[in-house]
Amino acid sequence: MRYAMAIDTLKCVGCSDCVVACQMENDVPIGFCRDWVTETVDGSYPNVEIELRSERCNHCDNSPCVRCCPTGASHIEDGGIVLVTHNKCIGCGACIQACPYDARYSHPEGYVDKCTFCIHRVRKGENPACVAVCPTKCMYFGDLEDPNSEITNVLKNRKFKSLAPEAGTNPQIFYLI
């Protein structure tokens, strides 16, 4: 099982519903976020293009954050989901340094926190909160090793990219372009 996410940048409108839904679902403190929306603009008026991306922890296959954790608090669970065990985390911040995507943050309660692919929902057969709420339905979540899953199909039929592949972490969030 290898969980991953595909996000269609052609449909995303940058509404940030994914951000606030995650905040509600996961009790993320105000002022912090587990996911965020980025906009890049290119060109010169009127030949301008924009790209909108909902970003979060990429649950990398070759995750530097898991490697560098001195206590094993950062670990991998079902399907490659990278998690942090709160009462093993000492708050040293090494994993925050190690992440090329700035996906982790230091929770006010002391431990390091980040997107968990809503594993508590996934285990019940539901989609992560961000995927479930997105009004444009531009987000796909599923098992890459399942040939019949929606995500496998959409990646077969569309061009896609991932962020900073040169960082070598093998991220598992794909942006359809």
Partner: protein, 313 residues
């Protein structure tokens, strides 16, 4: 025109707009760790070479600093933790892939060893020192008998301690400034250089001072070579590394690095030591303090600048 911005108002403290979660505690610890590593290295080295008596400061006096530096360093590290009550989790597991885990265990090993080392010389350092308990005196005899073994262990641990401070940073491939394998050796040499400088100032023997001065000079030259190598490698690397190097070659750290770390912290003390060689009398405190401050500044700059460098945004 290219524009990149957060649409969803992301502004996480200490992460946006630039990463800054490691503050003074980490570079201070890196400095103290390197210092202790350097001191202990020479202490162990000269013991193994059988030169305890020619190098009394190196072998007997300077190591007093080591446990103090290590404990202060550990304290700084502890203060840096954001989930302090769980610090003990560090010692429930060894994770080979995590330099921080090595560090935790190495420190766990070397700190008591350095205390034992100092303890074994207490009678020579302090007049009329007595352990008061029979079993402590017996223990002291035991340590003195196996000092060579301790020296071997300490020399290995001190090299690991010195080099791991650099590897700790270089293992973060997300921070292009740090992600270079030269950082480990560079920190090791810098640590050894600060250790040598400390021994230099604590030494009262002219012979010892000459030897240490030569060693220090050599270490400085090697360090300068590594620094050059560091920047040449960055400039020949990928775009993110070129951007990282430019922080020091025209960017905000240019003056602080080249003036305070390289010139005042390395070149100038080296010149003074050569002058001392040739015959001019230079008060030893000057180059030593400059080397120590230079070493401290170096680590502060590296930790802050490294956090600024990144792949995205």
């Amino acid at each position: 025109m290219k524009e990149e911005l957060f649409v969803s108002g992301r502004h996480i403290p200490n992460i946006d707009p630039y990463l800054n979660i490691w503050h003074w505690q980490i570079p201070l610890y890196l400095f103290l760790g390197g210092l202790a590593a350097g001191i202990l290295f020479f202490a162990a080295l000269f013991t193994i070479m059988g030169k305890e008596n020619e190098m009394p400061a190196a072998v007997k006096k300077a190591p007093v600093i080591a446990p103090i530096a290590l404990i202060l360093g550990l304290l700084a590290l502890f203060l840096d933790l954001k989930h302090k009550l769980f610090f003990w989790q560090l010692y429930t597991t060894i994770r080979i892939e995590s330099p921080m885990s090595w560090g935790a265990w190495v420190l766990m090993a070397i700190t008591p060893m350095s205390m034992l080392w100092v303890a074994s010389y207490m009678k020579e350092l302090v007049q009329g020192w007595d352990w008061k308990y029979k079993w402590l005196n017996a223990f002291e005899t035991f340590i003195i008998k196996y000092r060579i073994w301790m020296a071997w262990i300490i020399i290995v641990l001190s090299v690991i301690l010195g080099i791991y401070t650099g590897i700790l940073l270089s293992a973060f491939n997300a921070r292009p400034l740090w992600n270079t394998s030269i950082l480990g050796p560079l920190f090791l040499v810098s640590g050894m250089s600060t250790g040598a400088a400390t021994i230099l100032i604590m030494s009262k023997s002219k012979e010892e001072r000459r030897t240490m001065s030569w060693i220090d000079l050599l270490l400085i030259v090697v360090e300068l070579f590594f620094i050059t190598h560091l920047f040449m490698g960055m400039k020949a690397g990928s775009q993110v590394q070129i951007d990282a190097a430019s922080l020091f070659l025209g960017g905000q750290f240019t003056v602080s690095f080249w003036v305070f770390v390289v010139f005042l912290g390395l070149i100038f003390p080296a010149i003074m030591e050569v002058l001392e060689r040739i015959g001019y009398h230079i008060p030893v405190v000057v180059p030593v303090v400059l080397i120590l401050l230079g070493g401290l500044m170096f680590r502060f700059i590296m930790v802050e600048a490294g956090q600024l460098t990144r792949y995205l945004y």
